[in-house]
């Protein structure tokens, strides 16, 4: 874990080039980016996050006082930035990150939800948790050590989850004398590994989280050869979210709203609508839709919110949809565009990130949760395991904790799964232990 030198820490200093987080209007559109960190243990993730928060003036005075007090109590000469996110007692005692910490910060152009994830292989499931909702992942690599097995595993997970943007922070660049050659060599190695593990684009940046080079401000003094953006500048510029206009409409039904005697007013006693969050695309009043898996067709009669009726709804809005015909629709059904509807399936192939201590063996009886539907399932076959070094599948019939592999699953009832590559929300699933309820695997339909 890194610490700061005294010279770099002055909580009262105001750098006029740094955006004032208080100037952000939280109601301004298009400003939210979900971010996660990844990388091997001791590569400096928590320190980098601390530096990002500190240099963007997102650490409040009492939080700063608290970490200075703890650092001083341990005999450290300067404040330990990792303490800003390592909030559990056991994490502070051991100097490691065990579980994801969520932090919130903002600049003038964007606000961020940041998930600081652990590096230990033992806590990979927590990193999968943090990365599953991310728009961008910052993967750390220690400039001295290069790519480690855990770096490759995280890169594979990020590729599998199809996180839209991957930024590789080549950290501790100060410890290799700000060497341009070393950075170039690592950037090349990272790009090659990324491509083989299914990550099409990475943005490498040389940084020092400890001293702050290229984290918020560009390090023109120490790395004049680097002309790219600082980490924060890049994060502010990344585009977020797919455009719903280009997607086919999908809405899993969460619940049927039929108030009857429990209506907010008598005029709604006979109301019947279907509540859900739009998973993809846009729907307009009058659009033809199909209910899946039944295949019944109807049209959208109205789109309601407590604030009034809408003429259209788009992902990821939460709405209530009324349909023109009185047909059987229940929780777990999918309302989809009639012109571009997926097929229900009773068997699927998918890629899983195995998160349980108990190995996965063929024949395992589990629950599969997909959108708002949970069905009984049997893992008919384990068809392969991803080799982290080559990025190629290798033969396997058992998956152990932290393995990434491909499976064939048979389902007791049909689900409407789409390829995860096409639609994250209708392609993702969980495997759940029916006995104790634990989450066994993160699954993605289709093969990578």
């Amino acid at each position: 874990m890194g610490t700061l030198t005294d010279a770099t820490v002055d909580p009262t200093a105001v750098d006029p080039t740094i955006a004032d987080p208080t100037a952000v209007d939280p109601t301004a559109p298009g400003t939210l980016l979900r971010l996660a960190t990844a990388g091997s243990v001791d590569d400096g993730k928590s320190t980098l996050v601390g530096r990002l928060l500190y240099d963007s003036k997102s650490v409040l005075a009492d939080q700063w006082d608290a970490i200075e007090r703890v650092s001083a109590g341990r005999g450290q000469e300067s404040a330990d930035l990792a303490l800003l996110t390592d909030g559990l007692r056991a994490e502070r005692e051991q100097g490691i990150t065990i579980d994801v910490a969520y932090r919130y910060f903002a600049t003038q152009t964007r606000s961020f939800i940041l998930a600081d994830c652990p590096g230990h292989v033992q806590y990979t499931r927590n990193t999968v948790t943090g990365a599953s909702t991310a728009d961008a992942v910052v993967l750390l690599v220690d400039a001295r050590k290069g790519l480690l097995e855990q770096t490759r595993r995280h890169l594979a997970v990020v590729g599998l989850l199809r996180v839209p943007h991957v930024v590789v922070a080549v950290n501790k660049i100060d410890l290799v004398d700000y060497s341009r050659d070393r950075f170039t060599e690592l950037a090349e190695e990272i790009r090659a590994a990324a491509v083989s593990l299914g990550v099409p684009h990475v943005h490498p940046i040389p940084v020092s989280a400890l001293v702050g080079d290229n984290v918020v401000t560009r390090a023109e003094q120490t790395m004049p050869w680097y002309e790219g953006p600082s980490l924060l500048e890049l994060l502010e510029a990344l585009p977020v979210a797919d455009d719903p206009a280009g997607e086919a409409f999908r809405m899993p039904v969460q619940s049927v709203l039929r108030p009857q005697g429990a209506a907010v007013s008598p005029e709604y006693a006979e109301y019947r609508g279907y509540a859900g969050q739009v998973a993809a695309g846009v729907v307009r009043v009058g659009d033809p839709v199909v209910i899946l898996p039944s295949g019944l067709r109807t049209t959208v009669e109205g789109i309601d919110t407590p604030d009034g009726e809408l003429v259209e709804a788009f992902a990821p809005q939460s709405v209530v949809v009324r349909l023109s015909d009185d047909i059987d629709v229940a929780r777990g059904d999918l309302i989809a565009a009639a012109t571009d509807a997926p097929e229900p399936v009773k068997e699927l192939t998918g890629t899983v990130s195995w998160l349980s201590d108990q190995p996965l063996r063929p024949g395992a009886r589990v629950l599969l949760k997909h959108t708002t539907r949970t069905v009984r399932a049997i893992v008919a076959e384990v068809t392969g395991r991803l080799d982290l070094d080559s990025g190629q599948p290798s033969p396997a019939d058992v998956l152990e904790l932290n393995d990434i592999g491909t499976v064939r699953v048979r389902l007791a009832e049909p689900i409407v799964a789409e390829d995860y590559a096409t639609s994250r929300r209708t392609g993702a699933f969980l495997l759940i232990d029916a006995h104790d309820g634990n989450t066994l695997a993160a699954g993605m339909t289709g093969t990578p």
Binding site: G87, P200, P239, P316, L430
Partner: protein, 324 residues
């Protein structure tokens, strides 16, 4: 592949779509948070037998109840609310609580710390604060009513232990949270399965900040207890906080007595009167509070909560035992 490190990465390999989606189909930050919260509340109601919402009349629980009402409109909120009453609550907050519950037609359960003290199941602490005493009545109310999902207004930006917690967080049959062994939580596929006797805490405001809460209150015109806005009050200094002079907090030392004065204050958090401090403020409406919160340099709990100052991991320790 040759690498030119001097080229800015953003123009380098031209990652897919460097232009943002059209403005038209983009949610604002507030809309995105609202939609995420409503989705969670609907999931919990669909998958659990007996949910309940912790309601204290504090701003976070008020926003949570407002979201629940929106999630099921035009049906009423399909679950009751639970208040753990320390017996040291501000009277105007209790009046607000009763008014709000009646307006929504929700059933109110009250778990009373005072009852537990009166019959000896709990003993008053030497420092007089009753916040840590809430855990036992809370767990008894959960068990007694067979609640299997408990909505809480906790936010991850409040405190470093809360920053670590899942949106759906499992509690064992003793009500304990095990921070070292939390379930993975993937995408927005919440897994609330649990064994008999276990329950979950569900946090719809996990990703909201104090500023988000206030911006939402201002935008939605949500009524709050007046204590949240600037008013004149007789206060004194204790442990670096301003406490209101009243039945549950009286100056004890000469220094505290000497510090008694009338100030214009408001509350950033509302809890037990004996340990919740006020802040100097002239913010008399939601818009003014939004401005004030945006400019603050101290966290809300740091400014106003004595119970978090007990130790470095005070919140984590309370949460492990079953606290909110």
């Amino acid at each position: 592949m040759s690498i030119d490190v001097t080229t800015p990465p953003t123009t380098d390999t031209a990652p897919a779509g460097l232009t943002d989606a059209p403005h038209h189909y983009r949610l604002t930050r507030a809309e995105a948070l609202e939609s995420e919260s409503i989705h969670l509340i609907r999931e919990v109601v669909a998958e659990f037998e007996r949910p309940v919402l912790l309601f204290s009349g504090g701003k976070d629980s008020v926003v949570m109840l407002h979201l629940a009402a929106k999630a099921f409109w035009p049906a009423k909120v399909p679950f009751g609310v639970l208040h753990v009453d320390t017996g040291h609550n501000f009277p105007e907050v209790l009046a607000y609580r009763d008014r709000t519950v009646e307006r929504l037609g929700a059933h109110l359960h009250v778990a009373s710390v005072q009852d537990y003290i009166d019959d000896g199941r709990l003993r008053e602490r030497p420092d007089g604060t009753r916040n840590p005493l809430q855990t036992l009545p809370l767990l008894d109310a959960i068990t007694g009513n067979k609640f299997d999902a408990v909505f809480g207004g906790g936010r991850r930006d409040e405190e470093k232990a809360r920053a670590k917690e899942r949106v759906i967080s499992l509690r064992d049959e003793f009500g304990q949270w095990d921070p070292r062994n939390q379930r993975p939580e993937l995408w927005n596929l919440y897994n609330g399965r649990h064994r008999p006797g276990e329950h979950v805490r569900a946090f719809p405001l996990s990703n909201w900040t104090e500023l988000d809460v206030w911006s939402y209150i201002a935008a939605e015109g949500i009524e709050l207890p007046h204590l949240y806005y600037a008013h004149e009050r007789e206060v004194f200094d204790r442990d670096g906080m301003l406490l209101a002079v009243g039945e549950h907090a009286r100056p004890r030392t000469d220094a505290e007595l000497a510090s008694v004065r009338t100030e214009q204050v408001r509350y950033r958090t509302i809890g037990d009167m004996s340990c919740t401090g006020a802040v100097l403020s002239d913010a008399s409406d939601p818009a003014a509070v939004v401005d004030e919160v945006a400019a603050t340099r101290i966290t809300e709990r740091g400014a106003t909560r004595a119970d978090d100052r007990l130790s470095e991991a005070a919140m984590e320790d309370r949460k492990k035992e079953g606290y909110f």
